[in-house]
């Protein structure tokens, strides 16, 4: 059945070259855990992407239950957590996933560093990777405020105070991020918009560049 639908579309749209280009390529021996078990370290990039997909999916569903507002935010999260069946799982996916993304990203970075995969001609992808790291940390920081509980509130105060000590620009950066003098109504709407619109858009763009560069340059050779 699926084969028939595929054949029908393939006949008209010539799909095979497209997905072949994306998916059908050699996995070199030195990155294949079936050959050398230690090659599992090459999986961390893919695992990072997988957890990012989980974050995006669970985040889209969280957004259906979440009200970005100082009066309702906490109650809406509590409602999902305690009254909607399976709600605590949806929130749990996003909550734990947020940490897993950062762990995976870090392990991926370590692999790239210790295999020297950042060297010429792949310097640009290292730069893109560092930007991705910044975006993910930004997602973690802005998302953390959203439940609007004590932990969220004080973590954001601390984060903003850290930003404030940057020479010259610090106070402006803090004021800009908070959207005012206090961590309050305008902070939560601002963080929400950054968390669900701005950063995910930048994230997807950077991921696109990251993957195109990998396809262009291939996986770095063995040690």
């Amino acid at each position: 059945m699926i084969q028939k639908v595929y054949d029908w579309l393939d006949e008209r749209l010539d799909l095979s070259p497209i997905w072949r280009d994306i998916a059908d390529h050699e996995v070199p021996e030195h990155v294949n855990p079936a050959h050398h078990f230690s090659a599992f370290v090459y999986c961390f990039g893919g695992l990072t992407f997988f957890t990012v997909v989980i974050q995006i999916l669970s985040g889209m569903f969280l957004a259906m239950f979440y009200a970005p507002d100082i009066v309702n935010a906490f109650n809406s999260v509590k409602y999902l957590q305690t009254e909607v069946s399976f709600g605590y799982i949806v929130r749990g996916m996003h909550h734990w996933g947020a940490s897993v993304v950062i762990v995976m990203l870090f392990l991926h970075t370590l692999r790239v560093f210790f295999t020297g995969a950042y060297k010429a001609p792949r310097e640009m992808n290292w730069v893109v990777g560092v930007l991705l790291f910044a975006v993910i940390l930004g997602l973690g920081f802005t998302g953390y405020l959203l439940p609007w509980d004590n932990k969220a509130y004080f973590a954001t105060k601390v984060g903003l105070q850290i930003a404030e000590v940057v020479p010259v620009l610090g106070p402006y950066v803090k004021h800009f991020l908070a959207g005012g003098d206090i961590v309050g109504a305008e902070t939560i709407t601002r963080f929400f918009a950054i968390h669900v619109f701005f950063l995910p858009a930048i994230l997807l763009l950077l991921l696109g560049v990251h993957f195109i560069l990998i396809r262009r340059q291939g996986i770095a050779g063995p040690l």
Binding site: L57, F61, A67, N72, S85, F86
Partner: protein
């Protein structure tokens, strides 16, 4: 990938091809295993969010209590608007005071009728005697829906069923209203 070998293989070598109809080839086995695992992982990802999203559909409605709305002595044979307030839990907005309206009158046989003001066409709010062209009728401004005094829709206007009535009860000279009963 290598082409499948043409000649049948012995069991000592890897069996690329199925020997009989019931056996599956190595390639098929791997395909099924990978698709099964992938499908399992994908469903773990998607089932909880879908179940949570469907929760509002699957949840039972709260029972509506009977509330005192008016003194029976206030009720005449002319429809009068009475409002009453229920405290409603709307998801995370708890204890929300919400006002409802009923058009109440005594019908010809002396029974009390309490009509819902919600137009059965597409849900706007009807008003009694509000359109000078249609006196002694309920009129809906949205698309010109009309109902006679007992709430029955007038043929040729958009609504296709009568206004719903509230379940009611008279106790100690007071009118109590309960849940809405739709009529067809």
């Amino acid at each position: 990938m290598n082409e499948k070998p043409k000649q049948p293989q012995t069991s000592e070598t890897f069996g690329e091809t199925a020997k009989t109809k019931d056996e599956i080839s190595r390639r098929q086995f791997l395909t099924y295993t990978l698709m099964g695992t992938g499908g399992f992982m994908a469903s773990m990802l998607i089932i909880p969010p879908l179940r949570a999203t469907l929760d509002s559909v699957l949840q039972k409605k709260q029972e509506e209590p009977m509330v005192a709305v008016a003194d029976v002595s206030e009720i005449t044979d002319e429809p009068k608007r009475f409002t009453f307030t229920l405290t409603i839990d709307d998801a995370w907005v708890k204890n929300q005071k919400t006002t409802f309206t009923a058009w109440v009158f005594k019908s010809e046989n002396g029974d009390i009728m309490a009509l819902s003001p919600i137009c059965t066409h597409l849900g706007c709010t009807v008003d009694w005697n509000s359109n000078p062209k249609y006196p002694e009728e309920f009129f809906c401004p949205c698309h010109g829906g009309r109902y006679s005094k007992d709430g029955v829709n007038i043929p040729g206007t958009p609504p296709s069923s009568p206004l719903a009535v509230y379940a009611y009860e008279v106790k100690d000279g007071k009118l109590y209203l309960g849940k809405l009963i739709s009529r067809s």
